[in-house]
Symmetry: C2
Subunit: 127 residues, 2 copies
Amino acid sequence: MDATELLVCIKCRKGQDIPADDRRPGRALYDALAACALPEGVTLRAVDCLQNCDHGCSVALRGGNRWTYVFGNVDEASQADMLIEGAALYHATQDGLIPWRARPEHFKRNCVARIPPLTFSDPETTP
Amino acid sequence: MDATELLVCIKCRKGQDIPADDRRPGRALYDALAACALPEGVTLRAVDCLQNCDHGCSVALRGGNRWTYVFGNVDEASQADMLIEGAALYHATQDGLIPWRARPEHFKRNCVARIPPLTFSDPETTP
């Protein structure tokens, strides 16, 4: 199975005023994930900004010829385990599409966008 | 310059009830773009769903080792030219970051998310 990256926006303020020297919520989420045992094949990476600033904290899953998914509204204090579970489910797919029933509830309701893999079939567009 | 893809969600309903046999706003946007002269190096591609359904119509720009950008709230009737201009500006960059002042106003205010290129520098995350 091609490697999966779990990307975490570490600049996320969650719309709050954060003193310059304080740890931001996005960074707290990254730290919480870094303290977890990651599923085999999944790499955690920090990103400076995923520009989903109105719905932070935000993460993305990508890798191989899978659809890339961006999820928002992640709670840094309580949802690291959910992300780890979701990343494992994502990594187990060929195309990035976790079966709906298996998908974490948070993923169902907080998908911000998805991007097709580099190789994908064009849908029918003849008039 | 590496090729750029302009991806258009053709399933977008813009939150409206659309009769099954009617052309959806997303498809109308695709058709409007398909009728335009595309900048050199830019390919137009239809996508079944970018899952930015609360803020449609939606498009993405990607290609080469650039950041991928997703933009929402595109008006299918009036903004094809803006997207063509934005795609040309994006394609002219190495990294996908259109200089702020040159960025179309719509891009400034309607970026849904961005995804780093496959190769990117990890920000500092040592404690």
